[in-house]
Amino acid sequence: MEAHGVVKFLGEGAGKVQALKGVSLSLHRGELALLMGPSGSGKTTLLSVLGCILSPSGGVVRVCGQATTNLRTEQLAKLRRDHIGFVFQSYHLFPTLTALDNVRLALDVRGERAGQAIKRSKDALARVGLAHKINAFPRELSGGEQQRVAIARALVGDAAAILADEPTAALDGENGHSIMTMLFEIAKDPAHGVLVVTHDPRILPFASRIIRIEDGLIVGEEAGVGAARTPVAKARSVAKL
């Protein structure tokens, strides 16, 4: 996944603001990159643009080699379901569905057959350590468990890029650490790259790369401590997503 000179305007008329002012960055398979910056710096807007939820006003975004410029809404949706998994700060699980069905939704929107989708969803939940809670509803799960269900939902479709928006913000230290450990493990898999938007310094030890954004511009990039622990990221020679 890469962005070159991305510009994004938000709002209209007098309220129009330039949230991104020419951002370039890339996310590689096998790395866990942190995107850090103060509130209003453009982190979430950049995440939305990289995640094909918002179209850039200028510049180019490529996902798995495909440029998103001029793609229609439905084409962007297809890119998302085929290549991108999301983890949200508030989990955004469906309260009326079980953990299994919440994960299965990511495959159902692709039109995957029910039998296969159920099997893959169970595998994904097992991967995040919730094999025993597949029939639990979100209200029956702790915050950490809910976030793990959300991670399973992001993983189940074999997304090349996992984009996480403040995944630990709603969790206590222990659960936050557990979630980051899980994302770190996922990033070890050369099939996935993980980009985490955060301003939580406790996450820093997990990062293989730290990208700093301020006022809509990338102001710095440095290798993280996690790089030493993720061989694939360390090599950085793998293909861009």
Binding site: G51, R80, F94, T96, D101, L105, A106, V109
Partner: protein, 379 residues
């Protein structure tokens, strides 16, 4: 087989707020029961309007020129009967008289009635569905047949009771069941000559002539010849006469339009209720729809969730409305204004319910289409 996940999501979303779902269903039930009554009355009226024409054993009707409906009080010259009989292929022409009269009850009150006079021997317009007395009894002087639905209106209790029309005694010697009049004016069957007496109609006048044809006779040929020999009358097939009567009563008088307008209003009320509740449900679940969009669902998938909610509401509401509708049908069967339910009408009502609910879902679909999926990052 397990329920598809998209339907499961729709059903669970719908039932998440049971009170709102109940409000939706009540709105649909209210609307569809009203539509059922309006359309059921329409079907009932459409049947009642032509009940006499449908039961008269005629190949052709000779009616006064410009007759609008069966109850039209215009008269024919009985000489037309002989003109019709002169045409090859016409085997019999039976005169009948339809005219209003005042029924003076035993207690002194009066009620308008529609006297149906016909030759009792063959091919006339005779009472049917007899539940008391007999047709033969109408040969007895001063005998009449009435429908039991109208006993109260006529101030009688049954066989043997008597009243007066134009100071002539009318004794009930036959009772029918279910021969209702669209105008709710009771029919009184009696032989032709006696009907003339009850209504003050000259002996040379009749209202209609029922034409019977010999086997294998070309109806259109006879009809064309009738047009040439009749001057102030016209020849209609039973179908044409039924259609003309229906058009007059249901559309010419505005009665049908009023029923349809009532049904339309009920539909609008139902649509607004369903639209409002579906919209508020969609609004409440907007973050879930945004999440679905963010994880890559197509627009069609989101629409399926909303339409499925609308259809589930429709099926639930229709099922309850159907039970209530059948109860109303059952309760009104014996009344002067029965609500009729036919399999075709049931199908139409179901389709209307589905259309109403799906149309109501449009505002929700628009809401979801205009939603910004980036809102998933805002909380």
């Amino acid at each position: 087989m397990a329920m598809p996940l998209v339907l499961k999501l729709a059903a669970r979303n719908l039932l998440y707020d049971k009170l709102r779902f109940a409000a939706t269903v009540v709105g649909i039930v209210f609307s569809i029961v009203l539509v059922t009554v309006q359309l059921g009355l329409f079907v009932s009226f459409a049947r009642t309007v032509t009940v006499m024409i449908d039961h008269a054993p005629a190949d052709l009707w000779i009616v006064p020129l410009g007759t609008k409906c069966f109850e039209d009080p215009s008269l024919l010259d009985e000489g037309d009967r002989y003109r019709a009989l002169s045409i090859e292929g016409v085997s019999e022409v039976v005169p009948i008289l339809i005219s209003f009269a005042q029924w003076r009850m035993p207690d002194g009150g009066t009620s308008p009635v529609l006297v149906v006079g016909s030759d009792l021997r063959a091919g006339g317009l005779l009472p049917w569905n007899l539940v008391g007395g007999s047709l033969d009894a109408l040969w007895i002087p001063e005998s009449v047949a009435v429908d039991r639905t109208y006993f109260d209106r006529l101030g009688v209790k049954g066989l043997g009771d008597a009243a007066e029309m134009r100071d002539r005694k009318a004794e009930i010697r036959a009772v029918t069941n279910g021969i209702r009049s669209f105008t709710t004016t009771p029919f009184v069957f009696t032989p032709l000559d006696r009907a003339r007496g009850y209504t003050g109609t000259p002996r040379t006048k009749v209202t209609y002539l029922l034409v019977h044809l010999a086997p294998h006779t070309d109806v259109e040929r006879v009809r064309a010849q009738l047009w040439t020999v009749l001057t102030k009358a016209e020849a209609l097939t039973p179908g044409e006469f039924s259609s003309r009567s229906r058009s007059f009563w249901l559309f010419g008088t505005g009665a049908g339009a009023a029923l349809f307008a009532g049904a339309l209003l009920a539909m609008i009320v139902g649509s607004v209720v369903v639209a409002q509740t579906l919209y508020s449900s969609t609004k409440e679940h907007l973050y879930e729809f945004a999440t679905l969009r963010a994880i890559g669902s197509s627009g069609a998938y989101l629409h399926t969730v909303i339409i499925a909610q609308a259809l589930l509401s429709a099926v639930t509401g229709f099922s309850i409305a159907l039970v209530i509708g059948l109860l109303i049908v059952n309760v009104t069967t014996e009344s002067a204004l029965p609500v009729v339910m036919t399999p075709a009408l049931t199908g139409i009502l179901f389709l209307l319910t589905v259309v109403m609910c799906v149309v109501s879902a449009l505002s929700s679909i628009l809401k979801v289409m205009r939603m910004d999926p980036a809102m998933v990052f805002s909380r």
